[in-house]
Symmetry: C2
Subunit: 172 residues, 2 copies
DNA sequence: AAGATAAATGTTATAACATAACATGTCGTC
DNA sequence: GACGACATGTTATGTTATAACATTTATCTT
């Protein structure tokens, strides 16, 4: 069984070069923080890197466990402060419906996106969904509602999982 | 100051007959549960009524405090079970970004709606937003994503508050 | 009506998520 | 080197939610 699991992880990793995702995210973050004159400290970098270890949404206490080998003094506040910073800088999304956090590819640009959350592989996909946003803006204008922030989270089954694992999709 | 507060509450109550909201919600719930052959028990009814006491999203432990005079044995599970039932039946919405719950006007019909959450008065407005939903459906079809559920939550300032209290809107 | 079954609630305990408040350290600037 | 701003360390606690098992209540069957 261990072998199967490892194999599956391997397979999903092979689909794209994930180390590239991580280094891209870190580079972009460093650059953005430089421009903005804010500090991407070691802890903040480590938390960002841990979040980017997968495309799944990660829980705060999971991050805490995973940062401990690197920061033995880490406490909940350590993580939550780093998360607050990363969210402020638009480097990660908070997934409200999961109480979890996921790396943001759209850093710097418009940050509010559709989040597509797969029940099978648990990965979160961002979609800028320009048309959707425009329609929402129109709807809110009609309601005379002044927007501060949006959370648009869709749960379901992603393209990969619905084609690759039709049996599992029946069970969910 | 007490007088001012009471006056404000009075004013907001006067804007619509809120007892009607509550009785409507309870009647509709009773009818729906009857048709569906599920039990709208005393506890469930009380929780629904408590949620409908305002148009604000209410926290679970707030409900727990408020139900205790009626159900002295109430514990967290009492509330969460009732909430689970009411959500299953589409009688309330869970507001993911607030960890709170609000009465649903659209019970029975399509349940997934835009939730407009006002930072000033804290009231939650539902909008069926047909166009928005259609656009989202199209976007998700393009992404080959099979939807199970949607949470679309907009935070900002409602029409009432942005016209009535321009000073406060500056502070938020 | 008696007994079987399913549904709801009671009860205890604990898990999971998040923040407050104050102390200490680090770094740039005057 | 004193100061201020920011980041982090540290302790404690607040808030949200569920698990697991016992008991009661409702419903169905005969």
């Amino acid at each position: 069984m261990d072998i199967d699991i490892e194999f599956a992880q391997e397979a999903s990793k092979v689909e794209h070069d994930h180390t590239l995702c991580v280094t891209n995210a870190l580079n972009k973050a460093e650059q953005l923080c430089g421009v903005r004159g804010v500090q991407l400290t070691t802890i903040r970098q480590q938390v960002l890197a841990l979040i980017w270890e997968s495309h799944k949404a990660v829980k705060a206490y999971e991050l805490l466990d995973r940062i401990k080998p690197l920061q033995s003094a880490a406490k909940p506040a350590t993580i939550y402060r780093a998360l607050d910073f990363l969210i402020e800088q638009g480097l990660i999304h908070r997934v409200e419906s999961l109480n979890a956090f996921v790396g943001c590819r759209c850093s710097g640009q418009q940050h509010e996106q559709l989040l597509l959350i797969c029940k099978v592989c648990e990965e979160v996909e961002e979609r800028s969904a320009v048309e959707v946003m425009q329609t929402i803006v129109r709807e809110l204008a009609a309601a005379h509602f002044l927007v501060h922030s949006k959370a648009i989270e869709i749960h379901g089954i992603c393209a990969k999982c619905s084609t690759q694992q039709p049996v599992i999709t029946q069970l969910v």
